[in-house]
Symmetry: C2
Subunit: 377 residues, 2 copies
């Protein structure tokens, strides 16, 4: 008689999972009452209420989200879409993969901000990435539209036209993108932040040359930041560099690569390197150290974002703090009002940012109290 699992036929749901009918039966009421109790509507009599709740408790009932969504026309889900560097986890070159992957750090924090804000309204996040080489991410994103009440698009997921088309079907908010007639864009104040930072290094420190190590070429944030640095350099009448040779792709490996090539080709290193984000600044600093350059004594380096490790490295990183989580939260909140049927007040919301002066620009001596910097070298 020991015949466990002889050949049970690949079933979906062996247990026909309990429904609201089961609860109704157990409680001796109608399904309508169960629903009302569960949703706190139209205050049922306390006694009925108790009966239902007891039945729910006893059976361990959890209402099916799909059925609720279908019926109430609200899924309580918003999708978040971002671009991911590589298609496969099992990429051949794991090292390379990791390096690319770390450019996602910023997004992770952003997503967390969205998530926390969403929880407050009882919404959950449907997270989805599209491959950076995906030709038409439109299809994938459309599928998500079917699973959610609204969509938050990170940088560079869809073209402005794609965004418009999507936004006709479902509320859309973009992060660090560009606003369209149908979607709202949320962004940090790149111009003010980068200008302040550039003015600080050029003005306060008086360095005599500067470069912008760029992020992804098609990222609006990147373009704007680079332009800001250039403009400040011109205002100061100082030499400025950027372009294809200065493409750090937002990653530590990318930043290091730029420096490596620079040195190998014997080109001069500018006195200041303004990086598009913190990750690439980390790579730059590390590579400079490797080659025997001192930061900030020989070269000053700055970042952007103020990710948490920025203050835990030596030299600690001078950067521009973006209210990352707040950006995410605001994205959700905006989307939420759109889902509720209101039309958003503005097409774009710009959040203030703030220069954070640490050591890598030359502001603070590295090892404050004691022995000379044992860190760097």
């Amino acid at each position: 008689m020991t015949d466990e699992e002889i050949h049970l036929p690949h079933v979906r749901k062996p247990v026909p999972s309990l429904t609201i009918y089961d609860v109704a039966r157990t409680a001796g009421v109608s399904i309508a009452s169960v629903s009302r109790v569960l949703n706190g509507h139209s205050t049922p009599r306390p006694e009925t209420r108790d009966r239902v709740l007891r039945a729910v408790q006893e059976l361990g009932f959890v209402p099916d989200g799909a059925a609720r969504a279908l019926s109430s026309r609200l899924k309580e889900v918003v999708s978040v879409v971002f671009r991911r560097p590589r298609a496969e986890t099992q990429a051949a070159d794991a090292e390379e993969f990791d390096d690319e992957a770390d450019s996602l750090f910023f997004m992770d924090v952003l997503n967390r901000g969205i998530e926390v804000a969403a929880q407050l309204e009882g919404f959950d996040l449907l997270l989805s990435s599209v491959d950076v080489h995906e030709h038409s991410p439109g299809g994938k994103v459309a599928k998500l539209a079917g699973k959610s009440d609204g969509i938050i698009l990170h940088d560079r997921v869809l073209t402005p036209n794609g965004v418009i088309r999507l936004a006709d079907r479902i509320p859309v908010v973009t992060l660090a993108g560009t606003p369209t007639r149908a979607s709202v864009n949320i962004v940090g104040d790149n111009v003010a932040g980068m200008r302040d930072l550039a003015k600080h290094v050029l003005g306060d420190h008086g360095y005599d040359s500067i470069a912008y190590l760029s992020g992804h070429g098609d990222s609006p944030d990147n373009l704007i930041r680079g332009k800001a640095v250039r403009e400040v350099a011109e205002e100061f009448g100082l030499p400025f560099e950027d372009g294809p040779n200065w493409s750090g792709e937002y990653s530590a490996a990318g930043g290091a690569r730029v420096i490596r090539r620079l040195i190998e080709e014997g080109r001069p290193i500018p006195r200041v390197i303004c990086c598009a984000n913190d990750q690439s600044a980390l790579g730059v600093i590390n590579e400079l150290h490797r080659r025997g350059y001192r930061v900030p004594d020989d070269v000053a380096v700055t970042g952007f974002d103020d990710i948490s490790v920025a203050r835990h490295v030596s030299p600690s990183l001078t950067t521009v703090r973006q209210p990352i989580e707040r950006l995410g939260a605001l994205a959700f909140e905006t989307l939420y009002t759109m889902i509720s049927g209101e039309r958003p007040a503005e097409r774009q919301i710009v959040l203030p940012v703030q220069v954070v002066q640490r050591s890598s620009c030359g502001c603070r001596p590295e090892t404050a109290p004691a022995v000379g910097a044992p860190s760097v070298r």
Copy 2:
């Protein structure tokens, strides 16, 4: 007569979004045929097929996920739940918040691994965090169960009993947790990894004392790692320290705090500090530098996980590489087989890890003037 929107009563969906009926009408077929075409079932005639696809294209139709899920009993969604340090984004102390938040780095990478694997099967991730102070996360998690086909639980979300209760209703996989009779646990080989690492610093380098800077007290990973270090220390007959004074809470700030107190209280610093993860190791190293200690010359420090920044800091961090993304992918794959109705082969899957020797243990001279491979070893 200019009475635009006199007082339209807060509608949900002004546009009664198109349905499969609209497509059917446009294509001149029945909804059954549309459904069949869309799902590739029972090969309809090419001509019909084209008509339908053209209609879909023309209208920009996207099937409603909730309706599909309700009908087909498959949501194509898995939930991922993790603990989040603080409740509110707008926490008063932003600095503090960030520090806590960076302990989430590991999870983000893990989640990415899950996500990529899920995409391969057409599944999406429903991301949800529970507050670390939440008393009974069971309710929140139960709600998620209603929205998904399976659940992946990070470290310390539910008690083993809670996991069992949940796993009776829906497939559950835990990450770095403990296996139960109904759920599967996926974990890196903490014991082997930590033992190898400890043997390396104690054996190969011959250091004479060691401490374990712990992570969260109730994290299984943390407990096991600490135990491994202790055992190796005992095998070598060397002094070992851990305990409440050595609680780094997995964060850079936590690691720094431990060192700060240690120094302020004038207690001796062990020759080696094995940290529970990379983040806290970063904090430790930074604080040691601040106080004038050299790493690895005065104190050797190691991490765990091999997050990407580990090789972009100076000194680069000796650590144990976990196949983080692979862990996540495996979690999904396992969950997927469970959702498909198969029972998992094992209650627990342990993935191999690997010691990565860099500078912070004393292995490599810091400023390598060389050009070549800055990578692993």
